[in-house]
Symmetry: C2
Subunit: 426 residues, 2 copies
């Protein structure tokens, strides 16, 4: 539902949504069709809870607006509304509007912000473009002509954004150029499909270790283009490895088989970074801190005699650790032991904002790690320093985009349609 | 030729050789036949000059010796003479002795040392086993029944050791189980072949950045075994990628085409580490310092508009940079700029032993780096610190093992056959 101001002659229609990030277990790396932004292989991800990690986007339309405008994290992105990505989303949703003639000639204002660092490998663009498409769809009461059509639009904004339009465990099917919509758009089946919703596996938890909140130096788009052109291993991954892993991990998720789910997730993260290393020039997203976390995870699982935690790394050094509710405090305590808060240099970090979740921080601080576990993990490479990890998020799977109907949630002024969001660094 | 003491009734026969390291351009990673230590794919390497990087090994035989004994870097390795590797070398060379009956029942003493850090990814085992086989062959005047047979013995000590038995540019052909010696030993053609000797490309230079002199945490043998068992990309590399690269790099070396030689060397180093990352659990040999060097190399070549320097990394974080005589001072100066001596924290490092070669150190110190080159390379990741690199070697290609006929070169006492080498940390 969209809200309006009270200027009856030239109303501003407005809608605000929040959308989640998602973190892939089987990774997307490589475009098949650059124009339509389709992938070389299927991928699948967990949609994360929006409590602390979300994009919030307000979209507005009015006859009063002279041109499309976009504000990101409080700053206007001049010219961004002409970008192919933005246009694909705006024009794509306009075509599905319940009353297309109403919106056809109206200009669009969009303001969006993330509650977490942008472009640091935490899927900010996935959340952002999912929120954009969801906000536009809400604004214009868009109707899909087939299930998943909106995800094909979000995919043209940012590939993995399509998966953020559903909650739970979500696949992005690569699709084929031959499948077209009635309007003649190809790749109509390169879209997200929900494998299971966020209530299917309520015990699943995610612990995110923010190793860096700096922007990465190779964008995903540039990186995957170079990988497709130069990696001699990528095509083998696409043709032989991914199809098998997709089938296995969907089964593991549906059966809540953490052992298989975790192992496949780790192996596919490793292979994604392996392909990056095989790219020429090579691309490095993980750093020594990332690798120390990998070593600790394997030493912990080996000590436990089972896979209790699984790492995955996107295009950045941050670790996302999937685990189960029954182990999450132990995982948090183990991580806080090796990566204490930079502010206090201790694990007693509840008060200083090192953890997003103060209840979890207290549980972690109170937890006594097994001495044999510490012995098993303390030979895992370089000695970590307070400051190697900036922040630890404790979260779980969550639903897709949410409409925010409260006026104060919006980022655009109801009377002027101009940005009201002010970025305050966290 | 072997020397003897003057005890005519029970002489000690003795020979001492030095042998070089070699650094692969197309990497060996994966065993085909563990028993015979044959590789999954061909590989090729540059044999380095022995001036500063060599293994020196004395082998002795006497009726007085009660058992085979081995000293490594001054310490006796108790039980090592029973190891499969050591036995393959000793028994293999004994079978080729000019007078096998003379040596059949004599026990062997061996003392070996390296002039550089052991097991830190600088091919210490290649030099060591090459020196062992060469010393035994010299001691017993071994005769090959076909060219390369001694390399098949060294290969059973440590795979890449076979390549250190020749100078210059040396391939290790994977061979096949079906090819046997007259004595019935399979894999008789899994051996080293010299592609070009050390005089073919006299302008080629190597700059070795010692990032760590600590022992690596995953041995090559254990690492490649895990890679063969778990990497889904390794088999594709073996079947499809390596054969093409072998042909191309041999051509490039013979034509002294540094552009192609360098690019292939870098790509294959990247792919080796890519396969390590695709191993489960993943194996990491490179660290953030290694990766900073990679970034600097690519930025330098991009600035130059040609490949002036090429990195390669073995199973450790140290970089070996191949370049040409005309660029080597520039390369050294660029590296010393970003990685100053830990002792002086400056590039004026001639006096403190940071460089192995004082003439080179003086040339590097006197060299003025182009300001645009510095601008082009100064955005290549984390800021390097003095101490990130421990030492810089300047070297070139060199010949195979050398017999040391001077008595003082030996590591065993001529009268007792006991170790005389004392390790003095460098």
């Amino acid at each position: 539902m969209s809200s309006t101001n009270d200027d009856e002659s030239s109303p501003i229609w407005m809608a605000t949504v929040s959308a989640p990030t998602n973190i892939a277990c089987i990774k997307y790396w490589g475009k098949k069709d650059a124009k339509w932004n389709t992938p070389t292989n299927d991928s699948v991800s967990v949609t994360l809870d929006q409590k602390d990690l979300r994009a919030v986007t307000t979209a507005a339309a009015s006859i009063k607006f002279e041109k499309d405008r976009l504000w990101l994290n409080g700053e206007e992105e001049v010219g961004a509304s002409d970008s192919k990505r933005f246009r694909a989303c705006v024009d794509g949703v306009k075509a599905l509007a319940a009353d297309p003639s109403k919106w056809k000639d109206l200009k669009i204002h969009v303001s969006s912000y993330n509650t977490f660092p942008t472009a640091a490998g935490l899927a900010s663009s996935a959340a952002g473009y999912a929120a954009l498409v969801a906000a536009l769809a809400e604004l214009m009461s868009a109707k899909e002509t087939y299930q998943g059509q909106l995800t094909t639009i979000a995919r043209q904004g940012s590939g993995s954004a399509c998966r953020s339009l559903y909650g739970g465990f979500v696949a992005w099917k690569a699709g084929s150029a031959e499948v077209s919509t009635e309007g003649g758009t190809p790749w109509a089946d390169s879209m997200a499909v929900q494998i299971a919703d966020e209530n299917h596996w309520p015990e699943l938890r995610a612990v995110i270790m923010v190793v860096s909140d700096e922007k990465k130096d190779t964008s995903s788009t540039a990186g995957m283009s170079t990988s497709v052109a130069t990696s001699t291993l990528l095509q083998h991954r696409i043709a032989k490895v991914v199809p098998e892993r997709m089938a296995s991990i969907e089964k593991a998720f549906l059966e809540k088989d953490f052992e298989s789910f975790g192992e496949l997730t780790m192996k596919d993260s490793n292979q994604f970074h392996s392909v990056c290393a095989d790219t020429y020039p090579p691309i490095f997203y993980m750093n020594d801190v990332s690798r120390t976390i990998v070593r600790i995870v394997h030493a912990y699982n080996k000590w436990a005699g089972e896979t209790r935690v699984a790492y995955t790394y996107d295009a950045g050094p941050n670790a996302v650790l999937y685990t189960l509710e029954k182990y999450v405090v132990e995982v948090g305590a183990l991580m806080a032991h090796y990566f204490p808060s930079p502010a206090t240099a201790t694990t007693a970090a509840a008060a200083d904002g090192y953890f997003n979740d103060s209840t979890f921080a207290n549980d972690v601080t109170a937890f006594t790690l097994n001495s044999e576990l510490l012995a098993a993990t303390n030979k895992t490479g370089r000695v970590p320093n307070a400051g190697d990890v900036k922040k630890i998020y404790h979260t779980k799977s969550g639903p897709g985009p949410q409409v925010l109907s409260n006026e104060k949630d919006g980022n655009l002024d109801l009377k002027t349609g101009l940005n009201t969001y002010i970025n305050t660094p966290k």
